[in-house]
Symmetry: C2
Subunit: 417 residues, 2 copies
């Protein structure tokens, strides 16, 4: 997230680029019933993270997602639920290459509906990616797009992780390959529209049926030797169930790097916010402290922030509710589960009896309502005392754990710092 | 865990097998400062999980861990802390092959100290594995050991995940390999002691310096074509930071499949245990319900169980403390963080004022003490009411989340069901 903010000047692509995202896999290897591109973590299917990675890139014009017919409705639902723009759904073929070919042909037809000539709207470069590689970054897409435009074809490579060996038909070692001469071919790959179209026009039925490598088709049928570009390890493909856990941990880590602290007008809350800001620094987290979400600060609602509201003295759960309503109205645009922490500093050492009894139930009710609106709400209570710094550290530890774990089972709990 | 309980009859290896575990890697690829085999999750370094996988196999006689000199003390400390038996530490060489060779030579010297002839104690088969592949299972080790004894050499293979391509020196595609003819060579590998010794005696300095594949040395210097055995996906190598997260999630899942519920003599607790047992079934978890940990039930202390103690009516935290002390005395043998949940069903709808105020502080103090003894202690409170089933479901959800997340920051919290 936020990568595009640091985009160096002049790295913008000045020719039309579109994406074909084959998502027809059946996912036997995850050991799960759902094809892995549709498996969800943190309330969102994998393919939606991948689409988001392309949506964030301003110079990408459109994304064609190619899905098996039986998943078309599911895919359209995902696009609506997470408000994906620039995306079209196209029906897949019986093999990976037939699906990609359908996607490329669909790109050629764009604009035809509006009566313009199809040729004018055709992309110069087509990027082909996998739905199950959600962490592709803008700077690498840039490299692939530029190399594809220059060479006709370009592909991501990675060093081999294991030695590759040739086997005899009886299952014995024949020989091992010299690692330095070979690479793993990964995604994304890029092609000029003309090269990828020609490759699919000229290739054989057998290529459509058994071929695995678009780069190979471009070489064989267009004489185009693809430029190979070494990609980062984040290009890895979510293949097994453990990869879903790894992907979830990467998203959790990126979601838990920062939070927005809302203090209201209370000076006590500002002091607490200061102490928290220092304490979370040691936990590799950053806090932005603001008085409220009005005016310019409304922009915090538009990004994937976690929110921490501080209340000092009398607890006022109606404030919590008000912010939740604001969050809800913007949550759809962000498309993720929001996390909201209410931190209450009670002003006396002795908890008031009525307060202690009422709050846990009230915050549980609020959290149940919030959960229906895709907001995870938790409470943390601390008591005004002389051991102020230690308490702030405890709040920071608990807040950091809640933000990192995002556990739906613990919403509505009022934790003690 | 517990795999060996289901070992089919007759699958026992009747010749001596030992393991060499090279653990000298520096782990640049994880992006972490600590070499990845020494990175910890759930309070335990990766290499300790790998060693445990071999310790569980009754027919493996000894494990030689080969570490860089600067990590010898760290490794000895890990062996003592997690009470690993059958393990020796040997100093590594400057390359992977020199390290493995040191490990193999050390196996040949076993028994010499005790005045027996070294030859008598030499293993028939040596298994070579990676410290960063913690999930190797007994049945696969059996296959490798048997194939190695029969053929002289055997190695794990996996299908290629990506297409492998040959590159030109200028960074362009030269050609792609036909996937079906090639495999990824993985670990473990097995060799007869004679084959692996001969291979290292005969191989060149250049092999020691640059070679990556023991199977290749066995072929080149002993004429032994290794038998290749397809392994399960769990053999994968922890390489990147995301792999540590994946490994952690696999261990968490295996640790959270079951728990032991202690009811005491109370009939109310037995009824609650019944309701919980049904509720966790839907969450893919199993509960063993027992009255206490005396007699035959003391065996629960010896394995990696999670414990849930039920209290009905008056809460008796001294019981909690008593069980914690028992857990502590056995924790060293198990070598993992133990998880202990105290579930308190208060018998009235109205919480007693003194109870509400006292318990959270008391359980927090208990938990702080328990944490120093490697026990993660949490509390869950529910109130006797007519909506009994719903409450049991909530307890099950919260318990399941706590057991799965194992969050150190949340110990001592008294959660409300
Ligand atoms: Mg491919
Ligand atoms: Mg190897």
């Amino acid at each position: 997230a936020g990568k595009s903010d640091h985009q160096p000047a002049g790295r913008c692509v000045d020719f039309p680029v579109s994406v074909v995202l084959p998502a027809g896999g059946t996912g036997e290897r995850t050991g799960l019933q759902t094809p892995k591109q549709f498996c969800s973590f943190l309330g969102r299917p994998l393919i939606s993270y991948t689409i988001q990675a392309f949506e964030r890139v301003s110079w990408i014009q459109s994304v064609v997602v190619v899905v098996a017919k039986e998943n078309t409705d599911l895919m359209i639902d995902i696009i609506q639920r997470f408000q994906h723009g620039k995306v079209r759904v196209v029906a897949g073929g019986s093999t990976r290459h037939r699906s990609i070919c359908n996607g490329v042909l669909a790109l050629g037809e764009e604009g035809e509906d509006e009566g313009r000539s199809a040729a004018a709207d055709r992309p110069k470069v087509v990027i082909i990616h996998d739905a199950v590689r959600p962490f592709v970054e803008e700077d690498f897409l840039y490299k692939i797009a530029m190399a594809a435009k220059e060479q006709g074809a370009a592909g991501a490579i990675r060093p081999l992780v294991s030695t590759v060996i040739a086997t005899t038909s009886e299952g014995y070692l024949d020989h091992s390959l010299e690692r330095a001469k070979y690479r793993a071919s990964e995604m994304p790959q890029g092609f000029t529209y003309d090269v990828i179209c020609q490759a699919y026009q000229r290739c054989s039925e057998s290529d459509f049926e058994f071929g695995t490598e678009c780069l190979h088709l471009a070489l064989q049928y267009c004489g185009t030797n693809a430029k190979l570009v070494e990609g980062p390890p984040t290009l890895w493909k979510v293949t097994y169930k453990r990869d879903l856990a790894a992907a979830e941990s990467i998203v959790k880590e990126s979601l838990s790097r920062s939070a927005c602290v809302i203090t209201g007008a209370s000076t006590g809350a500002v002091t607490l916010a200061d102490a928290l800001q220092k304490a979370v620094g040691a936990l590799d987290m950053e806090l932005d402290v603001i008085p409220d979400l009005t005016g310019d600060n409304a922009r915090y609602l538009l990004k994937e922030w976690n929110f921490i509201q501080l209340s000092v003295g009398y607890s006022c759960l109606s404030e919590v509710e008000a912010i939740n309503v604001m969050l809800e109205s913007e949550s759809k645009a962000v498309g993720v589960l929001r996390l909201f922490l209410w931190v209450h500093l009670s002003s006396t050492d002795e908890p008031s009896v009525s307060g202690r009894a009422a709050e846990p139930a009230a915050i549980m009710d609020l959290a149940s309502a919030a959960k229906l609106r895709n907001i995870l709400l938790y409470g943390i209570q601390l008591h005004q005392s002389k051991r102020w710094e230690r308490s702030a550290l405890r709040v920071a530890e608990i807040a950091s754990a809640l933000i990192r774990d995002r556990s739906p089972a613990l919403v509505g709990q009022l934790l003690q710092a």
